[in-house]
């Protein structure tokens, strides 16, 4: 046995990312690791590759307990990782990237460029990669970059290679290329850990599969004996906690219509409608194009094509400003980066989108601002000392309520909530859902992106599932997690059992 993990734990502050991680990998095996978003897969891989240190449990490498302080130590043992996002230096050449941090030294300790290029050429030729050592990485396709990452990982006798969703950015033919490499490596006796969301990839690739759920390893089995249905059950099988239940409202007039809408490359030909009083869930895996769709609707993507109707009138948003004026609101996924001005007072954040209404002739009414802030703090139950407090000092949940109140106080009618409960505690989640429900009851139309399946099931009246930039299907609000996962992850439809 090459690698063995038992009872591995990892905490980030109060959040437990991994509580009981177990995994064993043999030499010459392709071992798939699966689980929902946030199940702890990436954390586990980072611990194995020395990018993070575990807080508990045992990790054995060739039978000996190991603890890597950094990726270099792991690399010395023969463990390497191909990352989901490219970690290459775009302005350097292919060869320079392959040897980044392990440059070939010549006389006087200077970098021996010729030797480095020579070695890179050998490596590329050996694997028949469509690359040239001198090419600049910036100009490569996502697949090309992925190949450079792979070269970098295998350049010096790697015995365990970790792939973290390597094909999420790749085309069909590029994906096949990656598979070929994985098989070649396996046949040479390298152990391969392969993380993926796409079930179709698994059948042809994996020898065994380990499934994680909520930071715990729940099952390991040979690929050939496990059906797709069983796999999904293991992935989502937790008890659905009765966090919140929404009484659906009879929907009113159509408020938002998106038709044949594309935002290349992430969103392809999407059509949907949201009516007054409705909460429509938008489910899908990371990278399915949900965030990109919301941003494109909101006027943040200049390349977006297709038609939009707001209140049954055709519109075209070239900027967020135009979308906001039409009554559209976006509660972005990344609160810190795009939602909140952390250094500014709560009051200033609350009125940021609605300043026009309280500034006749451009002159700010401090009295109106005070009233609006007080109302927002009360309505959304923002727990703070006063509206003058810096927004960045609040807890995650209260920060999110400030972001939401920016739009509620402006009187927005169409809400795009992108992962509204990310990083906030259970109590605040409930309050956020209550606000969404209240808004819908007062006639707002809500589109809610969420990767938390139980939450989408509790809140949404109907659920759209996106896959690879398209709407893969629509489900009623009272569906099951299995149904959603099937639409989100399957490339071939129903009944893809063991082959």
């Amino acid at each position: 046995m090459l690698l063995e993990l038992t009872g591995v734990e990892k905490r980030f502050g109060g959040v437990i990312a991994l509580r009981n991680g177990a995994l064993s990998v043999d030499a010459g095996e392709v071992h798939l690791v699966m689980g929902e978003n946030g199940a702890g897969k990436s954390t586990m891989m980072k611990i194995i590759a020395g990018l993070q240190r575990r807080d508990g449990g045992v990790m054995k490498w060739r039978g000996e307990v190991v603890d890597f302080a950094n990726p270099v130590e792991a690399a010395r043992m023969g463990i390497a990782m191909v990352h989901q996002e490219s970690l290459l230096a775009p302005h350097l050449s292919v060869a320079e990237n392959i040897f980044l941090g392990r440059e070939v030294r010549g006389r006087f300790g200077l970098i021996d460029r010729a030797a480095m290029t020579q070695r890179a050429r050998q490596l590329i030729a050996e694997h028949h990669f469509p690359l040239q050592a001198e090419w600049q990485v910036e100009r490569l396709s996502p697949a090309g970059k992925q190949l450079v990452e792979i070269c970098r990982a295998i350049q010096h006798g790697t015995s365990l290679l970790i792939f973290d969703e390597p094909t999420s950015s790749l085309s069909e033919s590029e994906t096949k290329e990656v598979f070929k490499i994985v098989r070649t490596l396996r046949d040479r006796g390298t152990g391969v850990i392969y993380i993926t969301h796409r079930m179709d990839e698994l059948r042809s690739m994996g020898d065994r599969v380990t499934i994680l759920r909520d930071g715990e390893t729940v099952h390991t089995e040979a690929m050939s004996t496990l059906s797709t249905a069983q796999m999904i059950r293991y992935m989502v099988g937790r008890e659905v906690s009765a966090l919140y239940t929404r009484e659906p409202v009879t929907p009113g007039a159509e408020m938002l219509r998106v038709h044949n809408f594309s935002a290349p490359p992430a969103v392809k030909d999407v059509s949907l409608t949201v009516r007054a009083g409705e909460i429509v869930g938008l489910a899908g895996l990371i990278g399915a194009g949900r965030t990109e769709l919301c941003k494109a609707i909101f006027g943040l993507d200049r390349n977006a094509r297709g038609s939009l109707w707001v209140n049954e009138k055709p519109v075209h948003f070239r900027t967020p400003n135009a979308a906001v004026k039409a009554g559209v609101a976006l509660i972005p996924e990344d609160r810190q980066k795009t939602g909140l001005a952390r250094e500014l007072p709560i009051a200033w954040n609350v009125t940021m989108a609605g300043l026009d209404a309280i500034s006749p002739y451009g002159l700010l009414s401090h009295a109106s601002e005070k009233t609006i802030t007080a109302q927002s703090i009360e309505r959304l139950r923002i727990r703070c000392d006063s509206g003058a407090q810096k927004a960045g000092r609040l807890s995650g949940g209260n920060q999110q309520k400030v972001v939401i109140s920016k739009w509620v106080s402006r009187g927005a009618k169409i809400f795009l909530f992108d992962e509204p409960t990310r990083g906030i505690d259970i109590g605040a989640k409930r309050e956020v859902f209550e606000v969404m429900d209240e808004l819908a009851r007062q006639g707002a139309a809500i589109l809610m992106v969420s990767s938390e399946l139980p939450e989408i099931l509790q809140v949404a009246d109907r659920i759209l599932v996106m896959r690879h930039g398209r709407i893969a299907g629509e489900l009623p609000g009272r569906t099951t997690q299995e149904e959603i996962m099937r639409l989100a992850a399957l490339d071939t439809t129903e009944g893809a059992g063991p082959q």
Binding site: A323, T338, E343, G362, H366
Partner: protein, 306 residues
């Protein structure tokens, strides 16, 4: 709280210390000369305050000051009345500020680079337009702008107070002021909130240019010439005044009161060094050290309060 007041306390201590150290300090002549000397870059610093709060910077103000003064005095030398000459100076400043804003927002290049470029361009244009020669044929009454008094108070002090009140009003009581803070604190969040970021950014640079144009006319009035080489290095003085007064080059922070205190600290330091006979070369060392000291104390305060 004490730390927040530190710039002000420094100013007071400096004032008292200089009063004791030099018998010539606390005289009407000296104090009004300090006011006149500092008014020019204090007015520039007020415009710079807006720019820095919006997380930008304007390196071209020294050049714009020269260009404004030059165009204004050229208009007067061609026989235009004084008020029109001043208006030309202000308009010139506003125009080049507007140009800065336009380049920054349309080309999406960082303010540092854009204004580094326009610093050279505007200076060069001023030299080209004037053939490198100063403008001398200016009506005598023009000197009132820089040297005149109103019941014993230097006229420039009144101008400075008026500009300070204006910028303070913009920051505290207008939509533009609020957007300036929003853009500087988190530009992405400002865009996501539907704020017309480009329009307001351009307006901020135009206002900065306008105030710089006024400073250029004051400078020309004090020297009674339109100098194409005027204002060299003033941009750094203006930036220094803002940051000593608590402005942050990361944006979202700064105030008119802080900037004025920062400007007067620099003015008193220069004046004090002159009165005490300190070598002007050493003066530069002292002022440089004060800038670093002031900002590091301010950083410490912020880090502790987070």
């Amino acid at each position: 709280m004490i730390q927040r007041l530190l710039p002000f306390l420094t100013l007071v201590v400096l004032f008292v210390a200089l009063s004791i150290a030099s018998p010539h300090f606390l005289t009407a002549t000296n104090l009004s000369s300090v006011v006149r000397q500092t008014a020019v870059f204090n007015i520039m610093a007020l415009g710079m305050t807006l720019v820095i709060i919006s997380a930008g910077v304007d390196l071209s103000v020294g050049s714009i000051l020269a260009m404004g003064g030059l165009m204004g005095t050229m208009a007067m030398s061609k026989g235009q009345p004084i008020f029109l000459g001043v208006a030309v100076g202000l308009a010139t400043g506003a125009f080049f500020g507007f140009l800065n804003g336009l380049l920054i927002t349309q080309l999406k290049i960082s303010p540092f680079i854009v204004t580094l470029g326009t610093m050279g361009i505007v200076r060069g244009l001023a030299l080209v337009v004037s053939n490198g020669l100063p403008v001398h044929e200016i009506p005598k009454d023009f000197s009132y702008l820089g040297e005149g008094t109103v019941v014993g108070v230097p006229f420039v002090l009144l101008l400075l107070v008026a500009c300070a009140l204006l910028v303070h009003f913009i920051l505290e009581n207008t939509k533009l002021g609020r957007y300036t803070f929003a853009i500087g604190s988190n530009t992405d969040a400002a865009v996501y909130a539907g704020i017309p970021v480009r329009f307001h950014t351009t307006a901020i640079y135009a206002i900065c240019g306008l105030l710089t144009g006024l400073a250029g006319m004051i400078e020309a009035s004090r020297l009674m010439t339109g100098q194409p080489t005027a204002g060299q290095g003033y941009e750094l003085q203006a930036i220094a005044a803002v940051v000593i007064g608590g402005g942050s080059l990361r944006g979202g922070e700064g105030s008119v009161v802080g900037t004025l205190i920062g400007g007067f600290i620099m003015g008193l330091l220069a004046n004090g060094c002159d009165l005490l006979g300190i070598n002007p070369y050493v003066q530069q060392v002292i002022i440089g050290a004060v800038i670093i000291l002031a900002v590091s104390v301010d950083e410490l305060r912020k880090r502790r309060s987070v």
